[in-house]
Amino acid sequence: MTRYLSRATPGAPTGTDRLLAASGPDLTAHLTCYGPLPAPANPRELIDVVTAAGLSGRGGAGFPVGRKMAAVADGRRPIVVANGAEGEPDSSKDAVLLTQAPHLVLDGLTAAADAVGARECHLYAAEPMLGLVRRALAERQAAGYDGRQIQLTPAADSFLAGEKTAVLSRLAGRAPIPADQLISTSRSGLRGRPTLVHNVESLAQLALIARYGPHWFRSVGTLDEPGTMLVTLSGTTVTGVVEVPLGARVLDLITRTGRTDPADVRAVLGGYHGSWIPAAALARATLSRAALQPLHATPGAGIVRVLTRDSCGLRATADITGYLAAQSARQCGPCRNGLPRLAETLGALAYDGRCEPREITRLAALVDGRGACHHPDGAARLVRSALTVFADDIPLHQRGTCCVAHETPGAWSLR
């Protein structure tokens, strides 16, 4: 009998420390904390269990995980891909998860593959992460815990590397840039086969649901958006990745975890494709789609980036827009031409007080929705939210002053 089977199954984690509850990244610590992954007689049942748990994707889009799995399970010879390429500079939760809990991600990948009937499995992440995954796979094989072959592919170091079609392009041996998509990946993805692409955190959550069930999963979070999520907190005094229940108050994160006085906060950004939330609205902001929708924001991939009062919102946005323009894959005309123009005009307003906001709004509208991927839409969303949230600062900039005394171009995004 193998070592892991002789272990008594430990109890489910209580509280909200779920994903990072093991004492270390090794298999022994993993099994001591969570016990082995159950092997159900009918692996497909996991799809119903995940649906009942109400797990939504943790990669940003928030699509129901169970529904995506069901769509893929209907097809022939499906493929499962674990996506750990977080191109977003303000996110490091996938890296933390792969570093601290690689076995949970691999359990989730295995369980998902069994559930949809996939034999081919991929894991796509930055090369340093792959080293850790390789070690974890060797441990699983040596212990006789899991002999599944998983193909590892190093992710490109670019903002768009983790975009779904870019991931599939890379896995197919092409450049890691987005592609035009006429048919859903669930029906026709890698080499035309039904492909399930899940963020690594979604898979880790799935591995917990497979063990402890939907009722346990729903014991934290909100009724409509259950469970926990990993958050990357930055711009605060204390920064890093924390696990919080869905519906957690953003203000609590900033004060308790971030050790930052809310009076010092100018606004919060949920990622470079996200929207600004002004300090005045933070009291209403909790990490759920329902609570953030009126603020035109979403929990996204769990980014909470704090802009403090000593930074200018318009300049920060101009810097990020410049970065987004540089990160365009330069395939689609409106994005290739429009994003640099958008960055330039916003930069002219933020740094020199030149340019009418109306022209910036027009350019944002001009790029919105006009690309193979959502990169131009995300840039348009960010810029529009800046013009709304920092509207009072615009006349100051036009008069040649700014809400902040001294700042050099590009300073914010380089911090």
């Binding site: 592609a179 035009d180 005309g333 409106p334 031409n337 429009g338 001009l366 193979a372």
Partner: protein, 75 residues
């Protein structure tokens, strides 16, 4: 018998990774597509534009004649 699919309008899909703004489709579908700042086709709502019955022939021409093979007509 008309099905749900029959009632849906045809839509002109632009593959932005292929389009280079040669502009033939803009000429052929003047009411539906306009030129943006850089010469690329622009539909009113930015989605794949719906193609009415009377424009279907012109849209088929646009699909066939696009030098970049960037257009697809689909339901």
């Amino acid at each position: 018998m008309t099905t749900e699919r029959d009632r849906q309008p045809w839509r002109l899909h632009i593959d932005w990774t292929r389009c280079e703004g040669r502009g033939l489709c803009i000429e052929l579908l003047a009411g539906t597509l306009a030129r943006d700042d850089w010469g690329f086709p622009r539909a009113r709502d930015h989605g794949d534009p719906a193609i009415g019955r009377y424009q279907l022939a012109a849209a088929r021409d646009a699909v066939a004649l696009c030098p970049r093979l960037a257009l697809t007509l689909r339901k």
